[in-house]
Symmetry: C2
Subunit: 307 residues, 2 copies
């Protein structure tokens, strides 16, 4: 397995001004691995309950997501939330940890030599545990959430120190680095260890930082955002999926040698996948896209930036 | 005179987390005409009081701003305000209209055949009055402020209908068009008459809309924003100054034939000038830049969005 992803599997109740879903397939690991699948298969490390509908497992299977590293335990993690008119921020109504509470990740032997790993949003102690079980140091991409900045900052800083690419959003960057200026925040992020840092800005695109280098990706001009849930996970999943596919097709690009140029393209592929995700609830839109649609939208990203 | 600008001349008291100034030179007409001056001289239509310091007039003179259309009346318009930690929004402490209250614009004969006019932020009735005095229909660029959306919406809509390029910021677009989605807002703006619309997003750059066409300009990665006052006026001033300079150097580009391609470059030149403006209070930074610095920064704008 070339690409490994640790993250949650969840059942989501979501309401937005454009509709609502109940017990929809969700979770950071699900969004990320499905997003990655358009470029590369992946092995998911996660936990789910016995209540997970069969059709959801079929979907993951169809999307080339290996569930060898997924344990089954009690009831599935549940999240319920809503978005208001401006669609900017998810408001949480209820979180039931369920099987996540007793989750002890056990990395399958076949995953341990992966060249790429994505630590999607989950308890940073679990991210550290999975990293410690890997046998060759992979290219590590890390995502997190404001909740962990508040409740587990020490563990989070420890994971950041072991990360090659740290991804966080605008609000999290301002909170973690205590500055309103995102350019400053990006530079502080690099001082904590990662070679690369990305600040996601939702509709405004994303900023990529490396020592002395900088890239500003545009947002996709989406007129209809139905449900932004999972867009951030899809961004990172698409990005690392693209990088992992390059690794396979080009032996020269080892995980440790991901270039700034390659990463810029990966950011745009990630943005492309994220924009599809936001067009409908859960994986409803994402699951039906294909390479042709992805390339078309990638080309639009290029056109809207030309001057 | 090829380029005419109507806007305010003001004396500003401004406080930001990075310092403060008192009775500094400001006003939408001042920022816009100085910004334009790096590409093209302009004729300012405005009013000021007898209390305006001689050094400010010298500065405008040095920046090739003709004051033939500026009346002198009583005391100069004054604004005092401050910015908090996030520097996103100016909080007004006090506005003294003074000479602005009795201002009746009188367009000098030499200005009436201008090919380009910028209606900078000022009462939309004054913008309409100036437009009605022009003898040949110029390329009209319009800027406004949330204040006029609330207090003079009818007059504002009337000016928008006579405009070729309508510029407004993110918050104003959401307010005027009652949608959180900026892509939708841009399209609604075009329905009101203008061939082009621009939504300014501060640090996140700017969006340019035309029928079926779209351009997303990045923001300049500025680590130190000392004072954002006038950055929006400088953006528009730089943009129209650049367009007017093309008009002079290339007889084929008449005001009515500004192309989308030319406008994209104008947006980036405008963003370049605006980024200089924000680096210090009042015109302190802007007044000392030159073509070399502008081209250098324009090239950085090109590099940071390449992928």
């Amino acid at each position: 397995m070339n690409l490994v992803i640790i993250g949650t599997i969840g059942l989501d109740d979501i309401k937005t001004p454009f509709g609502e879903v109940e017990s929809a397939l969700g979770g950071s690991g699900v969004y990320a691995s499905c997003a990655a699948s358009f470029f590369s298969p992946s092995g998911l490390i996660s936990v789910m309950g016995n209540d997970i509908p069969e059709e959801y497992l079929k979907l993951l299977n169809k999307r080339k997501v290996s569930l060898e590293g997924v344990s089954k335990l009690g009831k599935t993690f549940r999240w319920s939330g809503f978005y208001e008119f401006d669609m900017n921020e998810a408001k949480t109504l209820k979180t039931e940890l369920n099987s996540l509470a007793g989750f002890k990740p056990d990395v399958p032997t076949d995953y341990k030599k992966a060249k790429f790993i994505f630590l999607a949003n989950i308890d940073p102690d679990l991210q550290l545990e999975v990293l410690s079980q890997m046998e060759e140091k992979p290219f590590v991409v890390l995502d997190t959430k404001n909740y962990w900045i508040t409740s587990k900052k020490d563990s989070l800083l420890k994971v950041i120190g072991k990360t090659d690419l740290f991804i966080l959003n605008e609000g999290e960057a301002r909170q973690l680095f205590e500055t309103p200026n995102l350019i400053k925040a990006g530079k502080i992020a690099l001082k904590l260890g990662p070679k690369y840092a990305i600040i996601k800005k939702g509709e405004h695109g994303a900023l990529l930082f490396s020592d002395g280098k900088y890239f500003s990706a545009p947002g996709y001009p989406l007129e209809e955002v139905k449900d932004p849930t999972g867009a951030g996970d899809s961004f990172a999943g698409g990005l690392i999926g693209y990088l992992a596919s390059k690794q396979v097709s080009n032996k020269l690009v080892s995980g440790k040698r991901v270039s700034f140029e390659e990463l810029r393209r990966a950011v745009v592929y990630g943005s492309t996948i994220a924009s599809f995700c936001a067009e409908d609830f859960s994986l409803n839109y994402l699951k039906n896209i294909n390479s042709k649609k992805i390339e078309e939208r990638y080309n639009i990203f290029q056109k809207i930036r030309e001057f």
